[in-house]
Assembly symmetry: C2
């Protein structure tokens, strides 16, 4: 463990007529002797450091930023610090999650989250890229996200009984567009062939340079990306899962609006990303919603009696269905034969469970009496079609990738499923739908918010910082936008569970 | 040769769907491939660099700042530059001299100089250190010197037909106090025992950080010092003379208000500095002046006829006497027996050449008819006494130092004499006075403004940059303020040429 910022105990020989080393040079020498490393001291902190060093009687704690280009001495304290707070940030398109870590002992001292305030300029990445092209658009998107991060930093500091100005470092995991907007870099080419970022792996910089009001010497570490559609959040996922360190071949799946997938081991890694449609994030069904209070996250339907049971997050009154709920629902509808293998409603199975809507008949998941606000929670054919496209895309992405490296799913030691999707999904149901491969259930492992977990590791371990920078040159990126095989596989996956039912031996097939 | 800033020809593979490297990462990779070096790209230049790189079709010239902590890519141009101007500065207490160098071919394209505008806050270092302790004093001294350097940079740019904002680097040689004031570091301890600088060897920083209006990416290299009284100007002298690279032992003498002396060779170096009094800089005699137009720089007196001839700088009407003129004058007065071995006037030798002044009789060097402004140029006993102290201090410093290393003057291969003092002094006269050791005249070599010459080398050669940082840990500094031997030797040197006349076989002795 070598945190991003750490303290070195220093006890220098006091100056005398026989030793006219300058204060700053004396301090450097003492630290070099203690830690055997070269370091620089930036001019902007020099006067304060020298004054503190002298005042403390030439002994105390030197505070070091451990940057890839070399150690930088940024502060001096009379006593060894017991607290050096640093912030890890998962910079999501819709949501920011963050934690405050004490770099002295590695403990998480606070967690918080906020909506991404850029949403007012566009809910999705593409809208924001277009907004950035307008006059002052980029600047505005940049400023509003910086303001939100500052607020989140204040939240964390208050929770921990600290001052925001005392936060000594920040690590950021985000998709490539969010990183461009944070750094005020033009995202124009991100969504235009051949989809080239302005930067994948930015060097660390001072938080103050982008307007973050943390400690004046706080450095920012941005997790590198490997392309416009494979961001630092995924690199964090690889680091957090440890798949790049394992002998066995594993897979990492992260699903949001895009599905991003990595396969590999300590020898090699291959990655791809593809539009899986918003269904899986809960964004497509009229009643779809992000995983949150009142979201139906789990559904059971008795195949005989057709009795439907559900569970909502926080056990609130149902307000909608989140991604895992929709997967459960559609899988159960299939097993109860309320939809057919093409994902079309079989109204005749239970006509009384449907209501008419302007878009046609819709399946009632929760009646108005039980639902929050008295509005029934329903699933229409349009929603179902979107779900079918999403699950087909997902499976096509996975098969294209595994085929690319000449492996079969059975060769995978472990499949890590990241994010809220991974936390709530029931792999059994996803297999029924033909969305995830038909493997023993213990193959699947939810790893939670690995984007944040990776950012936390970065703050704590030099090895992880070095690793993520090496990682990106090790990963082969497969561009699906121009991949013929993907399109063929996508078509084959638009049935439940698949046109080739032999791929899913555990799933019952109805004719 | 590896200049402080240089261009690297780059031709990168254009981006494609099969190569989604980010623009900045692509550029880094291409430069690393061409030069085999790791580099960083600062966030504040990133957007512009990426835009230029793309606009130029991914080929052109990457501009690199070659800093000790690693290469930093700061700019990108479509064409290989033919001109990369950089400024070398000798930051003197009274005077600034500077040159503009084209880092592409190493040529000096302009030279200029300005008075040190801090003089209005105090003519000497000590007054300025006291002024710095007043409210806003340090800030004011800092701002005024930065303003002067900006003006000097404008002068140079205009002379070279360039823009100041295009100057890509600055190197600064100055004494330790001037460097502290330039960097706005408190000089309080510089003049207080044990005379410890806040910093001897500051790391390079951005010119903009101290308010210099050069190129936004221009780095500043400050020559390191080894103590409060042995500054970067002297380290420049060592670098310019090359004495730290030679097998033979040499000496370097730089005389201003202080005399700073180094002895050594490639194996070892020892240095000291001592107050030699202002006489040698022309500051003490009532008619003393800095070397400049109208200053008497050379004097001859016929020992028989006592006829006096002189030469002024630029052949102007005499206005005063500079350091070398005073040395000549006093040596000739001694040889003509107008002063005795104790440096006292022998009025009886030529009573008509003296006039009465409130301070007693004074020797008339130039009568009122010939002198500028109709005021005679004279030398009084007070001036003579000051000169005697200065020359005694000088010789005591040299002998203390040479004795410290167990050598004799005859062991010196070369004595480099720096600055205006070196340029104008006649070593023969200085030997007569017993100020410089009685060695063959070819031992003495004037090396001009070696403070500026060192700063120029720093801009052009990485080897010199590395050398000056290594140098400072190689030099042993001898503190004369507490040196008993120095005081004894000082007393012994207060005769012409010396109490021990055997040390000066070439000088005639009168009893």
């Amino acid at each position: 463990m070598q945190p991003f910022v750490f303290a070195v105990a220093v006890e220098a020989i006091a100056p005398s007529l026989h030793d006219n080393t300058g204060d700053i040079d004396r301090l450097k020498k003492a630290v070099s002797a203690a830690k055997g490393m070269a370091l620089t001291i930036p001019l902007r902190h020099m006067a304060e450091i020298a004054a503190n060093f002298r005042k403390a009687g030439f002994k105390g704690a030197a505070i070091i930023n451990d940057l890839p280009a070399g150690a930088v001495l940024v502060d001096f304290m009379a006593e060894q610090p017991v607290m050096l707070p640093a912030m890890a940030l998962d910079l999501g398109t819709t949501h920011l999650e963050a934690s405050l870590i004490n770099l002295v002992d590695g403990r998480v001292v606070a967690r918080s989250n906020r909506e991404n305030s850029q949403i007012e300029f566009g809910a999705d990445i593409l809208t924001r890229i277009h907004y950035a092209a307008k006059e002052n658009g980029l600047r505005r998107l940049h400023e509003i996200i910086v303001a939100t991060i500052n607020e989140l930093a204040t939240d964390l500091a208050e929770l921990a009984g600290e001052k925001r100005e005392n936060i000594r470092a920040l690590s950021v995991s985000g998709n490539t567009t969010m990183v461009h907007l944070l750094l005020q870099l033009n995202p124009f080419h991100l969504c235009r062939e051949p989809y080239i970022p302005m930067v994948n792996s930015p060097d660390p910089f001072a938080a103050a340079e982008i307007g973050l009001a943390l400690h004046p010497a706080a450095p920012v570490w941005v997790m590198p990306s490997i392309g416009s559609y494979f961001g630092g959040d995924l690199i964090s996922g690889i680091v957090a899962s440890g798949m790049d360190q394992q002998d066995e071949t594993c897979m990492l799946i992260d699903v949001g609006t895009n599905a991003e997938v990595v396969v590999g081991n300590r020898e090699w890694l291959i990655a791809c990303a593809g539009a899986a449609g918003p269904a899986l994030e809960g964004g497509v069904a009229r009643m779809g919603m992000r995983a949150g209070p009142g979201a139906i996250e789990h559904v059971e339907i008795d195949p005989q009696t057709l009795e439907l049971r559900y569970r909502t997050i926080d056990n609130g009154k149902p307000r909608g269905i989140c991604g895992s709920g929709i997967i459960d629902l559609v899988a159960c509808l299939y097993l109860a034969r309320i939809i057919d293998i093409r994902g079309k409603f079989r109204l005749e199975r239970c006509p009384d469970r449907f209501i008419d809507t302007p878009q046609g008949p819709a399946f009632v998941v929760v009646g108005p009496a039980e639902a929050a606000g008295g509005e029934p929670v329903v699933l229409g054919q349009v929603d179902l079609d979107a779900m079918m496209r999403s699950k087909a895309a997902m499976y096509a992405i996975l098969t294209t990738l595994i085929n690319q490296v000449g492996l079969e799913f059975a060769d995978l030691h472990r499949i890590y499923v990241a994010g809220a999707f991974g936390r709530h999904i029931d792999p059994r149901r996803a297999i029924t739908l033909g969305m995830l491969p038909d493997l023993p259930l213990q193959t699947f492992q939810s790893i939670g918010n690995s984007s944040l977990a990776g950012a936390e590791l970065i703050l704590l371990e030099r090895r992880s910082r070095e690793r993520c920078r090496q990682l990106i040159s090790k990963i082969t990126y497969l561009e699906l936008n121009v991949n013929q095989e993907f399109m063929i596989r996508f078509s084959g996956s638009r049935f439940i569970p698949h046109t080739d039912t032999s791929l899913f031996p555990s799933v019952p097939v109805f004719d």
